[in-house]
Symmetry: C2
DNA sequence: AAATAAATTTAGACTAATCTAAAACATTTT
DNA sequence: AAAATGTTTTAGATTAGTCTAAATTTATTT
């Protein structure tokens, strides 16, 4: 079944909100997509009509099995394109998201499968996010936020939960990229700022806003 | 300026018709795009309003400098993607056109420039069509159709003027691909069928419909 | 348990792109 | 040069997606 780019964006947003919040509301969706609540309501009706989501008036939405599968297909395309742009064409990790936002709507199954094959069936994209396989199976990572860790810990940065170019550029500057081993030197109670030392690089101080979006795995 | 995929398709069609016919008419455009004359008329009005084409009622359309530049940008994207899909991802020449039809509407200038660089600034796509450079300059090939050549000639196949999968598959089967050196053994007056011998391959008989879409250069 | 605030939906309108049927214009035939 | 044919345009409607303003429902205060 072929979906419009708009429909695909709604499904993707709902999928992501589903992972973040308990109930996915009209306002959440509108906010995530930079549109208005009435527009979201209209689209929600259409998606429900197409059995892609379930909707109880005034009570929020949920993905059906069909909608979930569709969302994973789009996320698969997005993440494979991101990795392809990064690994093959040499774009930086903060450049690939915006391009993938367009490329993810290109619907040619053989193309995505070929890219997957070309990259050697990778498991993660440049931001550490897992890539769903052709069947829609995805490695649900339960990594924790750096913010929740205490001083003294040794950890490895495994993913980031924000695609904002400014965020990614800042991390790069601080030597806090995916795969970097770090030591948590201190955590300040007042503002939740943290002192982090990346291996073989100088220690840095990062804000709560930054730490929150860095996912780690303890060593 | 950003154009919708529909607008881009209209400009591309008009550009191509411009090269084929003396006047580009509403019907031609509608036919090329698989739509109706009234739809084409409506779009023609909008394109003219945006100064992408000129239009005299009942008299046909022409591209403005702006429209021509836009058309070349789209054709550049299309042909670079075709070559990329063929050379990098290993798709066959009869598979790349349909995929490129979608990819050509992805509008990220740095992406196209990177692909161009990755491929080594190529001059031709897998069907022998010239790729416009970043400035919109295109090598206008004035190759002739195989149909216009007489028996006895030695020539090289340099391009094809049809992207139909069935056409391309048939050529492949007959060993008549881009770059193949051929000898024209005979041309039959009655139905314009031709006897062609590709170098190091068995001679074949081809119909007028086939010969018309094969472009050659005499050796 | 009213009153107020916040979120959601409906109502009605708009743009882009499309269509069929009918009218207007242009070309060709006789 | 009038008639017939063919092409192009207009008229009016439709669908997808969007919006603002108003109405409705749910949640929160007091």
């Amino acid at each position: 079944m072929l979906l419009s780019a708009t429909t695909e964006n709604y499904l993707k947003a709902i999928y992501k909100l589903n992972a973040q919040t308990t109930i996915v509301t009209t306002n959440n969706i509108a906010l995530a997509l930079g549109t208005t609540a009435p527009s979201a309501t209209d689209m929600i009706k259409k998606l429900a009509l197409n059995k892609l989501i379930t909707h109880t008036k005034y009570r929020g939405v949920g993905l059906t099995a069909k909608g979930n599968k569709a969302a994973l297909t789009i996320i698969r395309r997005h993440r494979l394109w991101e990795l392809f742009l990064n690994k093959v064409l040499g774009f930086k990790w903060d450049e690939v998201h915006q391009m993938a936002e367009q490329l993810e709507h290109v619907s040619v199954p053989e193309l995505i499968e070929r890219i997957d094959q070309y990259l050697g069936y990778p498991k993660f994209d440049p931001h550490g996010d897992p890539i769903p396989d052709a069947m829609g199976k995805i490695a649900k990572h339960q990594y924790q936020s750096l913010l929740n860790e205490n001083s003294g810990s040794l950890a490895t940065i495994v993913a980031v939960t924000n695609d904002d170019v400014r965020f990614l550029k800042q991390l790069e500057k601080l030597n806090l990229t995916i795969g970097t081993k770090i030591t948590i030197l201190a955590k300040h109670d007042f503002d939740n700022a943290m002192e982090i030392k990346p291996m073989r690089k100088p220690a840095v101080t990062i804000s709560e806003a930054l730490a929150k979006n860095i996912l780690i795995q303890l060593n």
